[in-house]
């Protein structure tokens, strides 16, 4: 299967690989997927408490090129957004941006889940109600 140029670019030069200290109050961590399914994504956000803006985003992904590209793209999109805005990222936006074929749509779903899981983790840590909607 041929990968799109954008997938290849993110795979070759992944943005924001790394780890944030998950113990910190203003860091939210989302770990989604399962090794037996062949995809695990961990996405982390660091939030400015004053403004509610995401100042840093990091990821690590075990998975195919499309999974790596989806999470790399997600970190790019998260930085500078407010939490409220970040929730609006839809998996179909990722599909469109990376030109993912139908068999790889689950990679974008996983990235959206990772974003929401990271936000939920941040919200719970800070005494806010978690989001209910996770695909």
């Amino acid at each position: 299967m041929a990968y799109s140029e954008k997938v290849i670019d993110h795979y070759t030069n992944p943005r924001n690989i790394g780890t944030l200290d998950k113990a910190r109050q203003n860091v939210g961590t989302g770990l989604v997927g399962a090794p037996e399914c062949g995809d695990v994504m961990r996405l982390q956000i660091e939030v400015d408490d004053e403004t509610g803006t995401i100042t840093e985003a990091k990821f690590k992904t075990f998975g195919c090129g499309s999974a790596i590209a989806s999470s790399s793209l997600a970190t790019e999109w998260l930085k500078g957004r407010t939490i409220e805005d970040a929730v609006k990222i839809d998996n179909m936006d990722i599909v469109e941006e990376l030109s993912l074929p139908p068999v790889k749509i689950h990679c974008s779903v996983l990235a959206e889940d990772a974003i929401k899981a990271a936000i939920n983790d941040y919200r719970i840590k800070n005494g806010l109600t978690p989001l209910t909607e996770i695909k």
């Binding site: 795979y11 090794p35 399914c37 062949g38 995809d39 695990v40 075990f62 195919c64």
Partner: protein
């Protein structure tokens, strides 16, 4: 100068040997006769070429030329053997034994006859990919008409104890069929010494053309018959109708002859390269060899690199053409059923690469492959959350994963 990408997927198919092509060429244009035309020299020429090739093929597996049935490939041969034996011997019994790691052509043909009333026992394999002979013994029944166990596995290359299997099968009065697609031409295969009643293989895995295969059907002790699965002119002793693919048959014959002549020297050289590749790659931390190390084809190596995913890894080694045990192309994301049959953890099954070398593989290519794989594994582990957890000493099994 090394030419990229490097082809290391020779269990899928091999390039054709130029000497094979050269032998085939006249049979497309000048010597185009139908081997079944009895009334003119064009037909005689074709028939003569087929007879000669049949001898070349028979010689490689120590069979009689009359025992060679030409088909379109190993898939057809497997189908003809399984469906044809079931149909021919239905009155004798309806039980067949096979194994879970067989090729889909065997498994799906078995599934087909199950719908027609056959009872099929699927033997599990041990951790090393070999079947347990005691389990085979226990599975044999008075109404077992056939045992079908592959000679060597296409994913991990393990060689089954063929002689022992055939002895047990014979003692039970059942037929022994083997899919020898990966073995013929690579290691010595002897239908007499091994006690094989039916054997399937194809030309394109042994430097011959695609679209031509063989089913060996024993003629003596016992005389084996299969019911034809295609009706027509009654070619190939009535077992496989259809105008003979003369250029393909000529090519297959030549490929068999070359394999026989060069097997000893080819194998020694290829095995040395395979062992170098394997030794170097197994030096990588958390890299594991899949399948029995000793009872194995000389040109195959299947290695799992834990904590990286196979398809992602393949993308990182785009200068190598290899196969991965992970099939991340369907919604189910099922890893290889062969690797799962070995009892491999899913992470390991998803993280495997199969390297298949050939007569044309060079040492420079292997050296390049070693470095290329090593650096891709390192890069992907750097971005793998599982690798980070492993390094922190976290047991991955202690985590509640959300399956999706």
């Amino acid at each position: 100068m090394i030419q990229l990408p490097i082809y290391l997927d020779n269990n899928a198919t091999t390039p054709m040997d130029p000497r094979v092509l050269e032998t085939m060429l006249p049979y497309f244009t000048q010597k185009f006769g139908n081997a079944a035309s009895r009334n003119h020299s064009f037909g005689w020429e074709g028939e003569e070429a087929v007879d000669y090739a049949r001898e070349q093929v028979a010689k490689l597996i120590n069979a009689d030329p009359k025992e060679i049935i030409f088909t379109s490939g190993a898939t057809e041969s497997d189908n003809l053997a399984i469906k044809g034996v079931f149909e021919m011997y239905a009155e004798k019994g309806k039980h067949i034994i096979t194994a879970t790691t067989e090729h889909k052509a065997v498994l799906d043909a078995c599934a087909h006859i199950e719908k027609l009333g056959a009872e099929v026992t699927y033997l599990n394999v041990q951790e090393d990919g070999l079947i347990n002979l005691d389990e085979l013994k226990a599975a044999l029944r008075p109404d077992t008409i056939m045992v079908s166990i592959m000679y060597a596995n296409n994913e991990i290359g393990v060689i089954q104890p063929i002689k022992e299997i055939s002895e047990l099968t014979k003692a039970n009065g059942s037929l022994f069929m083997t899919d020898a697609t990966q073995a013929v031409g690579k290691i010595p295969v002897d239908v007499k010494a091994d006690g094989i009643d039916l054997l399937a293989f194809t030309a394109h895995k042994m430097y011959g053309p695609k679209g031509i295969g063989v089913l060996y059907v024993r003629r003596k002790n016992p005389r084996v018959k299969v019911t034809a699965q295609m009706d027509g002119g009654g070619h190939e002793r009535g077992m496989r109708s259809g105008t003979l693919n003369v250029p393909g048959i000529v090519g297959l014959g030549k490929a068999c002859e070359l394999c026989q002549l060069e097997m000893t020297s080819d194998t020694a050289r290829i095995k040395k390269l395979r062992d170098k590749l394997e030794t170097e790659l197994l030096k990588v931390e958390e890299a594991y060899l899949n399948g029995n190390k000793e009872h194995r084809l000389p040109h195959v190596s299947n290695i799992s690199f834990k904590y990286v995913e196979g398809e992602g890894l393949m993308m990182g080694i785009k200068d190598l053409a290899v196969s991965s045990g992970s099939a991340c192309t369907s919604a189910s994301l099922e890893p290889s059923y062969v690797l799962k049959s070995l009892g491999l953890d899913d992470e390991l099954a998803h993280s495997s690469l199969r390297f298949g070398l050939s007569r044309f593989t060079t040492e420079e290519e292997i050296d390049f492959a070693i470095e290329h794989v090593k650096s891709a594994v390192a890069k992907l582990r750097d971005m793998s959350p599982l690798w980070e957890m492993f390094k922190e000493g976290i047991d991955l099994k202690s985590i509640e994963w959300q399956e999706h």
